[in-house]
């Protein structure tokens, strides 16, 4: 029996030693704050996580979690539950009026531990992350603890925390602000996000019913049951269905939330005899926006607090979790004194670029779904009409380009290639999964990497002995590198993994002797055809910001933002 995460209320505990100085305080226990805090705590950084409420997400909210996000949850120790509970899907269909015009398959190839997407209510994601958090003694989660004051000092940030017992002051070397789109942390610093508001309203209805729609994403433009607008249907666990109705800008949000208005809309889609219960209803508008800078000294913004997108493309929660993935290891190295503070600038730069990419895709999808004027509506309708018979036009149909992880191709943390590699894995890309075997048992490449720096070595060359000899030394460095040895199928020795179906070699162009250095967030930062222990150490120094001064003579100025 599943926990009813929506009804869970968490107790406020009056901690004995509440104040004092902490390495990291995370504000906001949503998916992004929880992921950041779990990542830090499971890797040994004492972390305080504050939330102003005592509950998990109200309503299903973010429901589409991408393959990359599930891989991050795997690294955080709770991916299996998410994947097992979530509804797997990889096919999307687009309809215009009463005809299907286009379908897509998001994961046409096999050999990945995780599916392209699962649909899972945000309260499950938060619930599973929370239960993972409770396993970590280094994670101090404080409910009903609202930050009401923020003072920045040279060596720390002082937060005033309001609780049922009154106020106290908490000092932190670094603060992660993951307190959502209406971030009070952002407001307290006098900062704003900038971007575009779209003049449209959407109705979300979560409906409980038994229905035989397949587990696919269905998107209608101008369907007979909701003329002139769009509709999106998604399946969630527990016989819950997400239906998203475009309403137009003139819709009255309060009126449209009433069951008398919602139920006929759903009956129009499902038919008059359909039996269903309304679980959750919400009317929303959205903006595509971001803060000019995600880093403000010792305060780092992540998730919706830093950036916002339209829901079409599932780029909100997914990109937020990827912010956490990027930030946690950098913060850890900095608070451990193993990396300079400037490493945190690369969080801002890498994730600001990712936000721009997400905003670009999201804005384009929204312009298609919600045309701005007569001409853009005309071209949209022309594309949809052509798409029925003309393959080229199907590629122009945009009902949301679904979240894919960003590639930090221009990151200063990458070591440029010194040899030629084929394929899609480039420095800065998140490591692609591949099936492996260990002692005859199936395993996955991504399960063997992450949290620390990992070197994935393709065995079978004359350099193997040199690599084995250097393994202990690399593992003992200040910033350790764990070497994972992958041998061709049938050739693995003790402690090695085998490339059971050859997909590691294929996806990484991994000729024997090649070495791939993955950051703690599993992004590739360097690779070589020939092993050289000093080159590995230089790449780790570079990827941890320890030679940023050489790579980058001028440090970026914090841009001014107006309040």
């Amino acid at each position: 029996m599943d926990t009813d995460y929506q009804r869970r209320v968490f107790d406020y505990t009056s901690a004995t030693a509440r104040g004092g100085r902490h390495p990291v305080v995370v504000v906001g226990a949503g998916p992004v704050g929880l992921a950041t805090a779990v990542d830090l705590a499971q890797n040994g950084v004492p972390t305080v996580l504050l939330d102003d409420d005592d509950r998990l997400a109200h309503g299903s909210r973010a429901i589409c979690f991408s393959k990359r996000t599930l891989e991050i949850f795997d690294r955080l120790g709770c991916g299996e539950r998410m994947a097992a509970k979530g509804v797997r899907w990889h096919v999307g269909r687009v309809f215009h009026r009463d005809q299907e015009v286009y379908s897509f398959d998001l994961l046409p190839e096999t050999g990945h531990a995780r599916p392209a997407f699962v649909n899972l209510q945000q309260y499950y994601v938060e619930g599973y992350l929370h239960e993972r958090a409770q396993q970590l003694p280094q994670l101090d989660l404080r409910w009903r603890s609202k930050v009401t004051g923020l003072a920045r000092h040279a060596g720390h940030v002082a937060l005033t925390v309001n609780t049922p017992d009154g106020d106290y002051v908490l000092e932190a070397a670094y603060v992660v602000a993951a307190d959502g789109g209406k971030s009070t942390m952002r407001a307290m610093l006098g900062l704003e996000s900038h971007g575009r508001t779209f003049r449209d309203r959407f109705l979300i209805a979560d409906v409980r019913m038994t229905a035989d729609f397949p587990a696919e994403r269905w998107f209608w433009f101008d369907p007979p049951f909701h003329p002139g607008q769009s509709v999106l249907l998604h399946r969630q666990p527990d016989n819950l269905w997400r239906i998203d109705f475009q309403l137009g800008w003139d819709a009255d949000p309060e009126l449209e939330k009433s069951p008398e208005r919602v139920i006929p809309r759903i009956q129009a889609l499902l038919g008059p005899d359909a039996r269903f219960e309304l679980e959750w209803v919400s009317v929303y508008t959205f903006r595509c926006l971001r803060m000019n800078a995600f880093r403000h000294g010792r305060v780092l913004f992540a998730g919706d607090a830093a950036h916002g997108v339209s829901p079409f493309g599932a780029r909100g929660a997914n990109s937020g979790v990827q912010d956490a993935d990027n930030l946690a290891w950098k913060l850890r190295l900095v608070v451990e004194g193993k990396a300079p503070d400037s490493l945190l600038d690369t969080y801002a730069r890498e994730r600001e670029a990712a936000a721009d990419e997400n905003i670009l895709h999201s804005t384009r999808a929204t312009d298609f779904i919600t045309p701005k004027g007569a001409a853009s509506r005309l071209f949209r309708d022309a594309v949809l009409q052509l798409a029925r018979d003309q393959p080229f036009a199907r590629r122009l149909v945009n009902s949301g380009r679904l979240s894919t992880p960003s590639i930090y191709a221009d990151s200063v943390l990458n070591t440029p290639d010194s040899a030629h590699f084929e394929g899609a894995m480039h420095p800065g890309a998140p490591a692609t999964d591949a099936p492996l075997a260990q002692d005859g048992r199936p395993d996955w490449l991504l399960r063997q990497t992450g949290n620390g720096f990992t070197g994935v070595y393709a065995a079978g060359s004359g350099h193997d002995a040199k690599v084995f000899a250097a393994m202990a030394a690399l593992a003992g460095d200040a910033i350790p590198v764990r070497i994972v040895v992958v041998a061709p199928a049938g050739q693995g020795g003790p402690g090695m993994l085998e490339d059971s179906v050859g997909l590691f070699a294929a996806r990484y162009d991994a000729a024997p002797g090649s070495l791939y250095l993955l950051r703690p967030d599993q992004h590739l930062c360097a690779r070589w055809r020939v092993f050289d222990v000093e080159a590995v150490r230089a790449a780790v120094a570079r990827a941890s910001g320890n030679d940023l001064t050489a790579a980058e003579p001028t440090r970026r100025q914090q841009p001014m933002e107006h309040a």
Binding site: F379, A382, L386
Partner: protein, 71 residues
């Protein structure tokens, strides 16, 4: 800008093309006419394919709006 868009005469029978274009719109109301134009632009743009060529064509057409049209 590297001129990739061919603006030199490229049609064997320009008058026939022009008649074809105008005739296609003959029995259409304004809305249908607009839809025809939009579909034509999409079909021909896909045939051209090269974004630089299309960008150049758009820039020329846009320049002829004499500043009356805002981007």
């Amino acid at each position: 800008m590297s001129a990739k868009l061919n603006v030199e005469p490229n049609m064997a029978d320009p008058d026939a093309f022009y008649a074809l274009l105008v005739d296609a719109h003959q029995d259409l109301d304004e809305e249908a006419s607009s839809m025809l134009n939009a579909q034509l632009i999409l079909l021909l743009s896909n045939h051209i394919g090269d974004l630089d060529v299309l960008r150049e064509a758009l820039a020329i057409a846009h320049g002829n709006m004499n500043g009356e049209v805002q981007v």
